[in-house]
Amino acid sequence: MTGKEVDLAAVNGAARASSGVEHGEELLAFTETLMRGEPATAERERLRALLSAEAFVDLAAVIGSFNTVDRIADATGIPLDPMMLAMSAEVRAQLDLARFASSANTTTV
């Protein structure tokens, strides 16, 4: 899509430093600390120094948005879309997504 290499292990919490994404390590550290229910004060300040003011707000917006859609997906039992199912087999296997309980909603997994 962009021609850049991204280490998918970062999605599962590994290979932070080598994610291949600019400020990826700091983005992941902030996201993980926050999602554990901690204030993430130090991680937030570090990111605010690295990102533009607009980009930091957009980071908060992405975190908010996916906390919405994850709940909708899990609570309505929607299956993965057929096109996405066909395109994502390798990524799903690499990330072992079938370990998540909600994979049961997509019957061909």
């Binding site: 996201t31 003011a53 996916f66 906390n67 709940r71 997906a73 899990d74 309505t76 049961a104």
Partner: protein, 244 residues
């Protein structure tokens, strides 16, 4: 939303408008729940964050085996409180068996979907505020009026737990529900048994993430670049253990 105060942050007008629209939406009579009930649903979602039973159950190997009482507002039926608290605190382990039990206990699919929309979108605003290190915005005052009790005739079984409207069936009152010609993923169809929830979700998703018609374009992005956006989105979903 009365000015919630975004502290030192320059929050885009599009996000401010979407969150204000959600606050009005929560306060107004819905399809199955009155305004006071919808605000009570939102309050119960906030209560779930401090619910001891939810915390204990989240640590349990099998959430279905746990018995206990939820903390907080008791003005809603116990079955409704159970749905709100589970969706707020432990959505990853919801199952078809759990949903069937909720229905067997008297909560029909329409009112259920409306609760899911409210709790999920409120949770998004709350995580936005937490990310910025801000207090959660005060909930709105309910507005008077009766729920419409509208059921779209075109909602059908498409393999989810709840009936959905497929884009090809979205005519009449639902003709505006999906962008013409766009690929509409299941996540956008998921709440379509209650079309008003989909309309607000569109505005929220477009403001906080991307417009549906820009999603397939890998160059579409915000002030964050697209790879940063997708890395954070994927990590949030992995931490939430969401397969979709």
């Amino acid at each position: 939303m009365a000015d919630p105060g975004y502290g030192p942050y320059a929050v885009r007008d599009e996000i401010r408008a979407a969150q204000a629209a959600l606050w009005r939406h929560i306060a107004e009579p819905g399809t199955w729940w009155a305004g006071a009930q919808r605000v009570a649903i939102a309050r119960a979602a906030r209560d779930a964050d401090g619910c001891g039973f939810c915390a204990e159950r989240k640590q349990a190997l099998s959430p279905g085996a746990m018995r206990g009482e939820h903390a907080g507002d008791a003005s809603l039926p116990a079955n409704v409180i159970e749905v709100i608290h589970r969706v707020r605190t432990d959505p990853a382990r919801l199952s078809r068996a759990w949903f069937d039990a909720v229905k067997a206990n008297g909560l029909e699919a329409g009112p259920y979907v409306e609760i899911i929309g409210l709790v999920a979108m409120l949770s998004g605003v709350d995580w936005f505020a937490r990310s910025l290190g801000l207090e959660l915005p005060l909930l709105p005052e309910p507005r008077p009026g009766a729920p419409s009790r509208y059921t779209p005739a075109s909602a059908r079984d498409h393999g989810a737990w709840v009936p959905l409207i497929a884009p090809e069936d979205a005519g009449g009152s639902e003709a505006d529900l999906y962008p013409a010609g766009a690929i509409v993923p299941n996540i956008i169809r998921a709440l379509s048994l209650v079309p008003s929830e989909v309309r607000v979700l569109h505005q929220m998703a477009a403001a906080h993430y991307l417009d549906l018609d820009r999603l397939p374009d890998p160059t579409a992005h915000r002030a964050l670049d697209r790879m940063q956006m997708e890395l954070v989105a994927a990590r949030v979903s992995a931490l939430n253990q969401c397969f979709y």
